[in-house]
Symmetry: C2
Subunit: 299 residues, 2 copies
DNA sequence: TGTTCTTATAAATTTATTTTATCACAGCTG
DNA sequence: CAGCTGTGATAAAATAAATTTATAAGAACA
């Protein structure tokens, strides 16, 4: 099996025309015919039906099976090229979601600056979900990500840096302001200012709703945490926010949840299992872990 | 990049000797030298240091990076070969853990037999964890698996068939036998008969311990559910068991847990994302889903 | 019916890989 | 220290494989 044959075949499946595939790769048409024949001979099967009224080709079930693997192999080959190229690079492509970037990452910034590494970071700032995809696609080297579940899997290496709690935040003027803690189900009649879907907050909020059998009113959604805090401060509604983002300057009251089941805001340092960190990357990773890891999660 | 060069290089990394690799693949030694050179030229880097006191070779950091990808690519190629070969086969390699096999799968067996498919199943019966690995390694086509968390990921396609509850089972002679339900933390002084680690029960039990801040005494572990039931029946201890495995014939009392957080026993039909089911496999999958899926989980 | 668009085939060509033969180097050993 | 052994590199020759060129064959379509 040749990688090149797989790319020819994969393109054939999408273009459905031998000549077009040949043009695409700047080769002659019989090259594509031969490539498909090689694969068909190797696996002793028919991958493509060509006679079918001659309008277009048809991929057989065996063909579809091979395509599934072909895509995985081609993707891995692309990642290989990206990673091998990135190896000689000094720049570290770094993903940072807004909350973690504003309230958590700064604790490590001075140590990175000391080591002369802050300037090497090419930072992408967007939601954790998007960063996760970029990481998996080889577009980022390292990211700090927020999540409710562990991100460790066969693709990604995730080091847990901190587990933060989600809090209920209310205005000092709110009727809840005198309390220190509250059960989530007691909030069923409250109006919430919620984060947009690129935050993990709506997911955690949904899980709490499910477990408490309530469904409070969300009156406004925003991706701007400062705006959210201001709206809560003005008592327009109450908020649901990880303690990560809370500072004394907010002039907000935060209530702990008393529920035994609680989603947590996990902050992890994530990189691909398949990417061996470069020297620079290794330094960044070490400093971030040292500076940001909460003691209780040292292993 | 050629797959063959990657396999040569990968073997070189483990054997650490060009000549030995050549012998392994029944080619001459310069072939290996050339293969490594091709890769080094393609990625414009040094992958292997050969002069180092001439005792053994040394893989450079770039070499290690390439190795990581090489292994992933080689694994995928192996899976491809397995899947393409399995495509023409009538036999379906089917994984079935003991509890699901005894208490849950029989509901589908008659319909499989009707369709003449029961005899096509090559059944492997072992713990869910082992079956999961076998599935990922391409040694199984389909499995029914028990788990506490969803098994869906980038490798596996999992269809949820049922969510069962974990119950506390006690002897009719037990002092708990008059109750219908109980909070887990009230069991802190009880003695438990527990399943061995190849079951999901110890994991779920551990999660409940953690949430309830208790740590009950486990006096015996067994992989034999009938023995476990007998021991509980004789009031040697109490048990923690998915309702899947409970039948009226057991003469046991089962108590529901009242906790708001409860792990669940998920039963899923699982196969690899990358394996396109053969005609026979498709039939088996359809019948299993139709016969076993609990109504509330139709999508 | 001839034109066009398609893929297949076969021979020639080009490119790539492997082998053969040999060299160079280092570590051991008598 | 000379000679043996085991290691990998190199260059030319041989082999193998992929691609191109040129052409055929089939179907759709005007």
């Amino acid at each position: 099996m040749k990688i090149r044959d797989l790319t020819y075949f994969s393109k054939l499946a999408s273009l459905k025309n031998f000549t077009a595939v040949a043009d695409y790769f700047s080769v002659r048409q019989p090259t594509i015919t031969m490539a498909v024949k090689r694969l068909e001979r190797e696996f002793d099967t028919t991958l493509v039906l060509r006679d079918q009224s001659h309008q277009s080709i048809l991929i057989t079930p065996s063909g579809h099976q091979l395509l599934k693997h072909a895509h995985r192999i081609i993707d891995e080959v692309e990642l290989t090229n990206l990673d091998m190229a990135a190896l000689n690079q000094e720049q570290v492509r770094f993903g940072l979601p807004p909350i973690i970037g504003h309230y958590f990452f700064p604790k490590a910034a001075s140590r990175l600056a000391q080591a002369g590494l802050l300037s090497q970071l090419a930072v992408t700032e967007t939601g954790s979900g998007e960063l996760l995809t970029a990481l998996e696609d080889g577009k980022l080297d390292i990211a700090l990500l927020g999540s409710t579940h562990s991100l460790n899997n066969s693709l990604l290496n995730a080091t847990l840096l901190a587990k933060h709690h989600f809090k209920i935040i209310v205005s000092p003027k709110s009727h809840l302001a005198s309390q220190q803690k509250i059960a989530f189900q007691d909030l069923h009649d409250e109006k919430f200012i919620m984060q947009t879907e690129d935050f993990v907050h709506p997911t955690a909020f949904g899980a709490l709703n499910k477990f408490s059998f309530i469904n409070p009113n969300i009156i406004y959604k925003t991706g701007d945490i400062t705006l959210l805090k201001n709206l809560v401060h003005e008592n327009v509604g109450i908020g649901f926010l990880t303690e990560t983002a809370l500072t004394p300057q907010d002039e907000l009251v935060s209530l702990a949840l008393t529920d035994s089941f609680q989603p947590e805001f996990l902050i992890s340092l994530v990189f691909r299992q398949s990417q061996l960190p470069s020297a620079t990357q290794k330094k960044v990773i070490d400093i971030l872990i040292q500076a940001l890891r909460t003691d209780s999660y040292h292993q």
